[in-house]
Amino acid sequence: MAPTQPPLDTLVPPYIRKIEAYVPSKPDDVLRSMYHTSSLVRMNNNENVIGPPQKSIEAIMNFTPERAAIYPNGDSYHLRHRLSEVFRHPACSFLIGNGANEVITFVIKTFCQKGDNIITTDKTFAVYEWAAGFSGVEARLVPLKDHAFDEEAMIGAIDGRTKVIFICNPNNPTGTYWSEARLRSFLRRVDGRQIVVVDEAYAEFVDQPDYPEGMNLISEFPNLVVFRTFSKMYGLAALRIGYLAGNRNLVDIIRRTCIVYSVNTLAQEAALGALADDGSHIRRTRELVRASKEFLISELDRMNLPWIAGEGNFVVIRLPVSDTLVYRRLMAKGYMVRTMTGFRFPNHIRVTLHDLPVMEGFVQALRSSIA
């Protein structure tokens, strides 16, 4: 006899029943075989094509396999102390997670319960909205204005149940950012009543004098939480490591929901290596991004394709055809981009910038994919 099935309709909360699991893409070897392509360039996740900084590479090489048997340090002690030196905040105001993605869930779990809401925008990184969804919390999506977070409308969306406001600075995928003056003015208007998260996943790519280092505002605004990641500029995406920083009292509370031991030893040591870089890694990466962005934009102009580009190692392109169709055509030619229908930009793709030879191949493939 078939075993009795658990009564899922009563066991599973309604807000979980309502949502769909995130389906990640298949591994490269599987995709290559399905799309009959011998090579595949990943241009979908905004990784750093240069790879990790030299010192991170050394840290990874120095990891002896026997150490895999030993648990990592449970709260990334050394890394937090190093961050403390770099940013001049106490080590206890940092909380390290298995990628910035994990710290997003820490924040929502800490502050939100059923009936509460978070505020973000409709066209940004999806995980704020998802994490709210599977926590049974409403995500209020304030439309972007001129491709940027709309300060006024976000303030207007706040109500008595608003707990957290997520600002992606610079925004993925539009590349817009709030200047220091604008961020300060927003924080003053929120006046400490809600938690304001500033996600700075792409901060290291920004080279603009008025771009605010959220880290410098933490002492002034005790409701501010800053996210950073080692996945983007520092090229450690595979190791999954990111962190949040905030006023120590706030971080003490968030720590209650934090999953200890979720950050592995290799990741902690590679991240320490990244922080030891002398700045040459960031310079090289920025130079590559600048040159490739310039090249891509001029090619797009020649093809009469509208684009959205700002800060960050990515460009959004508007297509005259369905983005999900172009995705498949580009895959068959060995280029994997991010479709933007899921970011509420139908018929757009987002492309991670690679070095010039790859970009040249990509432009050619794009041209034939929209024909």
Partner: protein, 430 residues
Amino acid sequence: MNTADTAELIVGIDLRYLPVVTGMVEQSAITFGLTKEGAQNLCLAVEELLNVLAAAPGAGEKIRVTVRDGGYYTEACCYFPPHRIPVSALNVTKVQNPYDESVIENLGIVLAARVVDSLRLVREQDGLMSICFTMDKIYPEQILPVQVLPPGPYAPGPYGQEDIKQFAQRVQQAYPSVIPEFFRFPGKVADMVRSREFGIQLATDGKGNIGGGMLWRQGEKMIDSLGPYVFVPQPGLAEAIIQKVLENVSRKGAVCMVNRLPVPDVPKAFFEELAPPQVEDNGLLCERPLYRQLDEDTGSTVYVHPNLEPFVRQCIDRLVLPRNIVVTTYAGEFIEPHAAFGVQVARKRHLAILSTIVAGRDAAHILAQYVSSLDDDGITRIRFKLDLGDESEQVLVPALRSAGFSPCYLLPWGGTGDIVVFEHRQRQGS
């Protein structure tokens, strides 16, 4: 499902309970807004089903009957163990006189569809069988006197109930030949949206005029869309509407959007054509739906009978789909003796859609029975959805061919995997 809008009853499968069940179904249906006659039709269908179930051996088993207010329709569903229903009864049995009550017990339950607006027979995830009958509520037909719209500009924006009704009326006027019948009943369209089964996006001028819009049914995996319909010559309006709709439906779990009744105004840039330019049988009248994927295609395995392989390969190549194609070969292994098919009948559209519950050896025979019985019932279009994600279904291909079905198009992610939609050839043009 909002439990406040549902009545539920669990009783033993026994004719002693017949009055209890029919009483509950009728009273609930009236409470939910059906006319007495509509409620009685729903009862009749449930009664026929109970007759079949009670005739089967088995003691102590129960049937769960629910009646639900769907907003613009009322639905009665029956859930019961699959073995209660003999496989032969799951399928159609032809009878001489369907109105002779004495032979009702011998009828296939599909005949219950004769009295209701639609019927759906499926195997639920928990292994139970369910049959749902629906009756649509009755709405007055309303046709708007022709009025010229001011030039606008129109833009996608918020709307109210009156706007929805105006939209329905303008759709009738602008597209009289290619739209579903419900647009003739503006109140019904308003209730369809209110039920949340349908989404709508209208373009307004902010002064109470509707310049266009789009309506869609939000399924779990698939969105069935209609439009964009535009009533003014404003360049870019159709694009603006579809763009807004796609923003609305993204991140809600659906993987694709289909438009089965495309009008000339559909901006082609947002869609792909599913049907190959020419299908294999000359003269086969296939629907030609437009399709849009909402997610990146992460690839899947499809199982395909050798007989269908050229068609499937052609579709996959044309649509550039990442697929592992596994050609199934029959090597004498066990096949269930009896086939059973799920069916959805939409009476007003004269349409039936069949799908597989059990792939069995007598499939060709059962399919032929379905076809002739549905034909007798005035159903002129019969489709079959073959799920390429399920390897066991592929043995049905020869039976489908011999029963007169031909493949029309491949719908990516239309089932557990891709599906191939077949159309019955004999029914064409009748």
